[in-house]
């Protein structure tokens, strides 16, 4: 259940009682900052491969790739999708659902710097699953993690290299990320439920 709030199915309604924590413009600024951090850390765009974790991580990865190539003025940055369904540790606590396709760019991931991209970092279990999934696909030179929101409450020794916004939350709150491409509504991040603060 730890992941259910970060990946509602497409078209999931937004809780009207919630409050906006990131507007569309703010999301755009976060992504540009993350892009700059990545380039700075990697000393350029060489060997970069972005892998989004479905569902919304894929769209974020695609947007980051566009920004990276604009900023760096280089060709397209290889971008793909890494589905983690088959590697999750909580399969038995919910009904099965069909996994999304894993798409690895043609250059592969061997000896590349793979940046995993996800919308919300919470328990860290999704990222653990992603790291396992990655191992079976090749041997990157390094793996980094970029997330739009870090809401805390880690259950594994995992941290993000690049964070759009740190957002202290309680367990009972839901963080809702909506992206134009995936959800068909304007970009927004909202927080809902939990105790009124």
């Amino acid at each position: 259940m730890a992941h259910a709030d970060s990946k509602p199915p497409a078209g999931h309604p937004i809780d009207p009682a919630g409050r906006t924590v990131l507007s569309g413009n703010e999301i755009g600024r976060c992504l540009r900052r993350i892009a700059h951090e990545i380039l700075e850390h990697n000393k350029g765009a060489d060997d970069l491969v972005l892998l989004g974790i479905p569902s919304r991580g894929v769209e974020l990865a695609q947007r980051l790739a566009v920004i990276l190539s604009e900023v760096e003025g280089c060709g397209p940055i290889p971008v793909g999708a890494l589905d983690i369904t088959m590697h999750r540790d909580d399969l038995r606590s919910q009904p099965t659902r069909a996994p999304m396709r894993t798409l690895i760019p043609e250059c592969g991931i061997d000896d590349k710097v793979v940046v995993l991209v996800d919308d919300v970092l919470y328990s860290g279990r999704s990222i653990r699953a992603a790291l396992d999934a990655l191992v079976d696909l090749g041997r990157p030179k390094a793996v980094r993690l970029a997330v739009l929101i870090d809401r805390g409450h880690r259950e594994l020794p995992i941290r993000a290299d690049h964070v759009g916004k740190n957002l202290p939350t309680s367990h009972s709150e839901k963080v809702q990320v909506r992206l134009a491409g995936f959800d068909g509504v304007p970009d927004v991040v909202r927080i809902a439920g939990g105790d009124e603060r």
Partner: protein, 317 residues
């Protein structure tokens, strides 16, 4: 999703679509260097085969292993069953070993359904007598879907020994679950009894005349040829193999007619083929033929079935 997969009728349209979508991802795994997913780590799957079938058994075995389950093959030939042990005793012995799934192939109709009532494990029907073979129907649907897209409104023609075909029985159900229309063609002697009353269902038709179906208004999107078993050829059901081919074989001229009417038509056969009898070599090897795709789909579809039956909430522990 259902606990057991005994009949294709156990699966709703949403279930079938989830399995086929999953199979697409599993197909990618098949192309990787490391063909292994941890999903079913610690689960035990027994392939209990009361009837020989190298192909289906190895397909289930590999599917289970690539999902990290421990798969064990048991053949009832030479085991206590041939000494007259009852089916219930045979499977309960296995069940006592706390297995998670029993994949069962049996030469008698209904055996899997009976077993499901006796064990805690999930039971997956890998072909029971002349009843059903649901994973074959799923892989056929997968093959079709990956070539011609959604099956809604598509017209599939199934030709051959319907009476003794579990492939046909499961395929009719799965194809119609996905919204396809099905016409089945056979001589009257190879039509299951009472099939006339199936026709009442919308989108299902029967015919004794293959050529009429090929040239009919409803042009086929796919033609599935069923194997004619050797033991049916001795004159009991039709006079000679030659006569069968003339009436019901996918011959070169029939293939030409099909292609003329629909250049994208698909030719299918669950195998093993009797070339020159129910299907000509031209048809089997034509670009329209997806017979080899059917074989390679089998693995991905069975991985998907194992995942949906065994991985989620409420699966056998």
């Amino acid at each position: 999703m259902t606990k057991h997969l005994i009949s294709s009728a156990d699966l709703t349209r949403a279930d079938v679509e989830a399995i086929l979508d999953t199979a697409a991802s599993m197909h990618d795994v098949q192309r990787r260097e490391v063909k292994k997913l941890p999903t079913l780590r610690g689960r035990t799957i027994i392939n209990f085969f009361f009837e020989d079938s190298t192909r289906t058994r190895s397909s289930f075995e590999i599917a289970g292993k690539w999902m990290s389950a421990d798969t064990i093959n048991l053949s009832a030939k030479g085991s206590s069953t041939s000494k007259g042990e009852s089916l219930r005793d045979s499977v309960q012995t296995i069940n006592a070993m706390a297995v998670d799934a029993l994949v069962i192939r049996h030469n008698q109709s209904g055996a899997c359904q009976q077993v499901a009532g006796w064990v805690n494990a999930s039971v997956i029907n890998a072909g029971d007598g002349t009843h059903e073979h649901p994973t074959q129907a799923l892989l056929d649907a997968y093959t079709l879907r990956s070539r011609i897209g959604e099956l809604d409104g598509k017209h599939v023609v199934i030709v051959g020994d319907l009476t003794h075909s579990r492939v046909f029985r499961s395929n009719v159900i799965t194809l119609m679950t996905l919204g396809a229309r099905v016409t089945v063609v056979a001589p009257p002697t190879l039509m299951p009894s009472g099939i006339g009353s199936w026709s009442a269902t919308d989108g299902f038709a029967t015919s004794w005349d293959f050529d009429e179906v090929l040239s009919g208004e409803d042009r086929p999107d796919a033609v599935m040829m069923l194997r004619v078993q050797r033991e049916r050829m001795s004159g009991g059901y039709f006079p000679t193999p030659r006569e069968y081919t003339v009436g019901y074989g996918l011959t070169r001229p029939r293939l030409a007619t099909l292609l003329q009417r629909n250049p994208d038509v698909l030719v299918m056969h669950p195998g093993p083929m009797n070339r020159g009898l129910e299907i000509s070599a031209d048809a089997a090897d034509a670009p329209s033929s997806v017979i080899l795709d059917q074989v390679s789909s089998g693995l991905a579809v069975r991985m998907a079935v194992l995942y949906h039956l065994l991985a989620g909430e409420g699966s056998a522990a």
